[in-house]
């Protein structure tokens, strides 16, 4: 665990930023930001190389990416707290061209196709760049995702890593009740991926999984990232499976306190 002290600090800082961002307007995709914080910490502070690509298909989870980019020094907190405000660059679902966002995600289900295109292009160029693409469990219900999976496997894109935000919620409720997508690893395996389920709220698991993905040859890899929306803020974890959070300022202030308490207790 000690080797992960640095990543743990990053994940904690990302969570704080997520809360600060939502606090600005009292609303936002807090559950996703908190649930994805550990994955983002590993991705941005251990995994992604200079020439690698990160493709965010799940546009509304931009909050997690913005918070990681802040950690990296790309955005000031001052600007991030304008999240979702009129005239702000910090959009709840940003478009291509916003620094740090390579594609327009958010019209869900499209990102993996562009990731396949990037992976094909990078392989053609021969520079060894890798492509990471985050899609959500809800997005797996869009047919295009599976068209992209077929293409990735057919073209043996071992420079492509599919990350599934498997938080088991979507807009209308629990994924299992709306339209079941499990068993995700088995389905992806059947489509030709080297796929593995991980606990994406355990840093060591995430680190191991990325190392494993690097070792795969001749197939695209997929990490099915089980995570808990709101992770790290117990009162938010209890609100469980809330796609979008609106709360009064005192709740966000309390969330920051809870966050620091859970970090100490860890």
């Amino acid at each position: 665990m000690n080797g992960n002290a640095e990543l743990r600090r990053r994940a904690h800082a990302i969570r704080r930023t997520v809360i600060e961002m939502c606090r600005g307007r009292g609303q936002g995709y807090a559950g996703q930001g908190l649930g994805l914080a550990d994955l983002m910490a590993v991705l941005y502070f251990s995994e992604l190389g200079e020439d690698d690509h990160f493709v965010l298909s799940t546009g509304h989870s931009s909050i997690a990416v913005f918070a990681a980019l802040h950690e990296r020094g790309d955005y000031e907190l001052e600007e991030l707290v304008t999240y979702g405000m009129d005239g702000s660059r910090i959009e709840e679902s940003p478009l291509e061209g916003t620094p740090g966002f390579e594609i327009t995600g958010g019209s869900l289900g499209q990102g993996l196709s562009q990731a396949v295109g990037l992976a094909l292009g990078e392989r053609l160029r021969g520079g060894g760049s890798r492509v990471y693409c985050l899609v959500s469990d809800g997005e797996l219900q869009e047919g295009q995702v599976w068209e992209a999976c077929m293409a990735a496997a057919h073209h043996r894109l071992d420079n492509l890593v599919l990350l599934v935000d498997n938080n088991r919620m979507q807009a209308d409720g629990a994924v299992a009740e709306i339209l079941e997508v499990e068993p995700v690893p088995e389905r992806l395996t059947a489509f030709g991926f080297a796929a593995r389920r991980i606990d994406a709220n355990t840093l060591a698991d995430v680190v191991d999984a990325f190392a494993w993905a690097r070792g795969q040859r001749g197939r695209p890899t997929a990490l099915v990232c089980d995570n808990i929306p709101g992770k790290g803020v117990p009162s938010f974890e209890e609100r469980q499976r809330v796609h979008y959070v609106r709360a009064p300022d005192q709740d966000w202030a309390a969330a920051l306190v809870e966050l620091d308490e859970t970090e100490v207790a860890w």
Partner: protein, 304 residues
Amino acid sequence: MSALAVQELVEAPFARALTALGRAREDVVVLSADLSKYTDVLPFADEFPDRFFQVGMAEANMMGIAGGLAKAGYLPIAVTYGVFATRRAYDQVAMALATGPSRAIVVAFLPGITTPFRATHQAIDDVALMRALPGMTVIDPADATEVDAALGFAVSEPGPVYIRGLRGRVARLFDPVGFRLEPRELQSGGTVGVVATGLATGWALEAAAAIDGGASVLHVPVLKPFPAAQVAAFCSRFDRVVSVENHSISGGLGSAVAETLAEGGMAVRLRRLGVPDQWAPAGSLDYIRHELGLDADGIAEALR
């Protein structure tokens, strides 16, 4: 005639109309693609669980399933956001729902710039796309009364219908008693004629109230079939006409007015207001309207 005022705010008028329709017609089935909470469909789903189909976030599949239900003898109402009903599932709407004789109703929420997200959620081209489909009826309601009336109108149409939905609390402008979904001149006077539809009718009225001498405002809720005769008669009274819509200026109301004027050989100067040929910004409706010159001041400026 004097300007209309908001009579009241109606909570979820579409939900009410849909459940009432569900009670009246047993062949009505409703489909949602993971947006039932966000499109005022839940009351129908609660009351008629057997006639509600949650298909997950899969709009193309939803339109196909709706097509199958139509062939099985039901009247499907497929509900999602405008961008996904059109851009995402255009071919499916065209082939499964619009080649007839079976048919369905599509209700599409977040019309135009009524969403804080940018290009991904702003349906600025949906009317253009739907208007281009043979036989498709297209309705852009302006208020709670028209949301309700649109559904009744759609049911009585022989072919497929696309309705732009308004969710949550919706203003009521029109008296529902004896209401008919048809073009109406809401205000007369001035030297400029305004043709408006959907929420933009309210915007046009605000602007007309802000200019000296006022303006005449024709509200057109059904964009296809387009009431060309009434629009032409209205426009013939003015040298200058301005169209206002919550949509791109290409392919929607402004284009339909232009077609009408040109085909009628009418010498009327037309100015089209709406989303210009650019992606609208993100933000609140007031902010976006201001940025695009669609707030009362911006429209008034164009009317002067």
